[in-house]
């Protein structure tokens, strides 16, 4: 129980610090009134806007007000459309979830499968191919891979659309692109941690008892090898969301990442704050979940 409480307190603290730094950074770098007023605006326009938007108040006061409202789910209004921030963000969440979830599923299934196969057949062709894929996947930048996939599958073969959203076909290339970063991590980790476990005494004992090779792999080896994999997947969700920013831009996928880029360029501070807080929160939640999951899988952590 103390383990769970400890993790929860940590999570809350991290969230608070994140919200504070985001708030400070955005206000420090840019003047939202000037950005909103646009390139051809006069000094009077900007003064008028600053008043309308309440930007003349001291920063701590602005932060306090904002945090107070944020805890009740009110993130303020977009500087551009005057819509509530959450209304702007909400339709985007589905798309980013769709993309990150499918990339995560693809990376997990393929990564686990290849990792296990590579560890069981060390030095075989499948091990070599998996390793090559992993190296390539990690070395190639997201946006470049995305463009190459577009050229091959959309422009040359005409199998899949270039960009946008709609049916499942629109999801294929972005998913491949986004998964390409995470897959090698999972694959390599599975392989090394399986190799580690497979050489343990209890695996030899299991085999000596006459347990089938399949049972040994799944029940004895994989379950013990899973621990570091869960931790890393929890940590990689942040990287996945970060990668989604680039991937969404290349494929014009209407998710949170694209909205973030757009809002940052336009200086729509409330939207950026909403997205950052939401993303940070989801990373914190995922880390918390993976911590708790490890506790569930591995009793040593729970009572340690």
């Amino acid at each position: 129980m103390t383990y769970v409480v400890q993790r929860l307190i940590q999570a809350v603290l991290v969230t608070f610090i994140l919200s504070l730094t985001t708030f400070g950074l955005l206000y420090g770098v840019k003047d939202p009134a000037r950005i909103l007023a646009g390139p051809d605006a006069t000094a009077q326009d900007i003064v008028r806007l600053r008043q309308t938007l309440g930007l003349n108040e001291p920063l701590p006061v602005q932060y306090g007000k904002w945090l107070g409202r944020a805890t009740t789910g009110d993130f303020g209004r977009s500087l551009f459309t005057d819509e509530p921030v959450f209304d702007v963000i909400r339709p985007r969440i589905r798309y980013t979830l769709q993309l990150t979830f499918s990339a995560l599923v693809l990376a997990l299934t393929l990564g686990l499968f290849l990792g296990i196969q590579a560890s069981l057949r060390r030095g075989s062709w499948i091990d070599v191919v998996a390793n090559m894929l992993a190296t390539a996947g990690q070395a190639v930048p997201n946006f470049w891979l995305g463009l190459m996939l577009i050229i091959l599958f959309a422009v040359q073969l005409r199998w899949l659309p270039v960009a946008g959203s709609g049916g499942w076909k629109h999801l294929v290339l972005p998913t491949l692109t986004l998964a390409s970063g995470l897959l090698p991590v999972i694959m390599r980790l599975t392989r090394s941690s399986m190799l580690d476990v497979l050489s343990q005494d209890y695996v030899r004992t299991a085999r000596a008892k006459g347990v089938s090779e399949r049972q040994v792999t799944v029940k004895h080896a994989l379950r013990n090898a899973l621990n570091p994999i869960i931790t890393v997947v929890g940590l990689q969700v942040g990287a996945l969301l970060g990668g989604a920013v680039v991937t969404e831009s290349v494929f014009a996928w209407p998710g949170l990442g694209q909205l973030a880029v757009q809002s940052i360029t336009q200086g729509d501070v409330p939207i950026v704050q909403g997205i950052v807080l939401l993303t940070a929160l989801s990373v914190v939640i995922f880390n918390l979940m993976s911590d708790l999951l490890i506790g569930l899988v591995d009793p040593r952590v729970r009572y340690g």
Partner: protein
Amino acid sequence: MKNKLSLMLSLSLALSATGQASKANDTLDVGYERVILTLNPYATTDRLPLVLAHNWGDTLLVRDPASGKLVPHLATSWKKVNATTLELKLRQGVKFHNGENFNADSVVATFNYAVDPKNPNPGADILRWIDKAEKVNEYTVRLISKKPAPIALETLSTSAIMLPAKYLKEAGAAGLAKNPVGTGPYRFVSWKANTMTFKANDSYFGGAKTKPKISNLVVHMIPEESSRVAALTTGELSLVRPGGISSDQAPLLARNSELKIDSADILRFWFLQMDATGRSGVEYFKNPKVRQAVYMAINRDEIEKVLLGGYAQTIDTPCNPAQFGCDAKAAKTYKYDPVAAKKLLAEAGYPNGFTVDLYGYREQSVAQALTGYLAKIGIKANLKWYGGQYDVASQSLAAGKVPLWFGSWGANSVYDASTGMDPFFSRGGEFVYIKDPAVQNALANAGITISSAARAALFKSAIARVTDQAYWVPLFSGKVIAGMRANLNWSPSNDEIDRYWLASWK
């Protein structure tokens, strides 16, 4: 093995039905280079919502793209009642897409909403000459200004999209942002994620525009240029709007027989501004000889032909010659001559040159070339580069920190020299680094003079003075490039307003 093969085959068959045929379903698929967040043209200075507003909405008068003249549209006639009152007769029998009648109430409601200081409407700044709008009768309105406003009619044609009074009251600005209602050739249907759909307005009144020839208009927002170009190649897009194709991609598209490119001269122009008053603390440019030396050091021909590949036009004026009053003949020019420039610099007391900061934010290759030209006469220019970040760079400009400004100006798409010169040469204003009473007086008078001939003369004297003093090095005016499928008939316009209703299939 056989199983695997048939699986592959069926998979590729299932996938192969992707290529869209835009002509077949009579849909103009347009690629936009930015994601826009609002369709309300008054709520932002972003151009794209205004471009769409001219397609779903209408203005009182319209600038005819061919003749350049202002012609009747939602207003059938207009007259000046006195120096500050404009009276317009409105077209009868026009309906908004939601069924509301277009009448004097619509005009009054539109302007009351747009220029009300309580509404943060940066897109309506250019209309703020209007003090109030008054209904005379059902189809007559008066626009009353505090001061005479010579560019009133021009701004009505560029920026004043008419809105339905009742809908505006019920739905408000938020409704307008997501679900605009107008009288235009296309009516808004839906906005899902990065795609906006419009349908031809079959009962369009016409006026100075026409009924659309293509029945569906779909806007796809694709920020990445390579993806946009790829989508045009596959036929997912029928058009990438002007500005969505860069000059280095243009030759690539021109080589593809299924595609074509077209370009248009636009109002935006580029220049090098020198701090002639020492506002930034740098005193070198107070000396006219130094300014003239800088002018002569820069090879403007080379910039146009080599760096910008011909997608630009060298200008000699501190405004765009396409604007009213921007008379190129009034401008004095200085020939490119680095040797003479170096001599002038020595005469001014700087035989070994000096070091200075040069600020820039777009057209990086030109910015770098400028530092090269200046280096040749001994001026070491440190490039302070703000790639694409006008909002940040212009803060320094407004704060008075910029001795050398490689700037550009879009002039609000208004064809009048005042919108080109006022921000930099008039009295007051945060961008002003040049305080020349002769120029300031001429511009101030042009701002309140109605007679065209008198205004032209005033602008002429201002241009002559600015160029004689070499306050600026005028560089070039720009072009925008559009890419489209070869079977589409369409051309970009100089005012950067896309007229999709004129598009047709071959």
